[in-house]
């Protein structure tokens, strides 16, 4: 089964990349952009058919490896 995870910086935390992208888009003429935040995206292929188990594994690896919950949040998608 395929699972995917999105890891983003917490709202209170500075996102230097998003800031620069935002500024660049403005310079390129996109005046109506008010905010950009950049995060990471992971696509994971699992040899596991049970979506509940998949979800469980995804939770674990997000917590243990893919994100640092000090400064980041994550969101999981199954299938």
């Amino acid at each position: 089964m395929k699972i995917s995870a999105i890891v983003t910086l917490k709202k209170e935390v500075l996102d230097p990349q998003g800031k620069v992208v935002n500024q660049t888009l403005k310079n390129m003429g996109y005046k109506n952009i008010s905010d950009v935040r950049q995060g990471k995206y992971f696509e994971i292929e699992l040899d596991e058919k049970d979506p509940i188990k998949c979800k469980e594994i995804a939770e674990q690896i997000c917590k243990k490896l893919l994100s640092n919950t000090v400064i980041e949040n994550y969101k999981i998608n199954i299938g």
Binding site: P16, V20, V21, T24, M28, Q38
Partner: protein, 227 residues
Amino acid sequence: MKSSVIVFPGSNCDRDIAVALEKFKIKNQMVWHNDANLPKSDLVVLPGGFSYGDYLRTGCIASKSRIIDEIINHTKKGGLLLGICNGFQILTETGLLPGILLRNKELKFISKNVFLKVTNLDNNFCHNYKKKNIIKLHIAHNEGNYFANNDLLKKLEDQNLIAFKYSDRNGNINDNTNPNGSSNNIAGILNSEKNILGMMPHPERMIEPLLSGEDGSLMFESLFNKK
């Protein structure tokens, strides 16, 4: 011989390259990325560093700068353009050179001396390397892994557009002499007209014996004695 070094926010090898150009009697001036006009120059240099923090993709945001159109014009008229490290990354992002620089295969920043084989000696940047075509230069990058698909690689090889390849001290080129995973060990390439060179190693950091080598000097001598 007159040169212009373009300074982007986050450039950090701009002073180093200026020092090197001046040492080899090339009259240089610094040009701010937001200037609309490029002063008259024979050579334009895009220096190393982290333009815009290398955020999003390396070189990407600098490639949208105001001065870029002027630089393209300069090259269309046959002017020389040299991109070192971040400058190379900017060149691929603007499309002036083909391919792209990905993260090093080990995912680590690499700062070390490497050996290179100069594989094209017939251009204004490298002709002095006829004296010595296996050289030592310093690399310092996180995204130096040159990627080209097979068609492009074939074209680069067939048309002899590869300027430098990572090698060992004897000129052997193989996986063991590839520091960052680049396709075919490519460390620098030329455009078809050979007036644009993009390279990851830093020639400006090896211009005197005290700095662990002088092999960069030959490039500046080549430029000064432009063919």
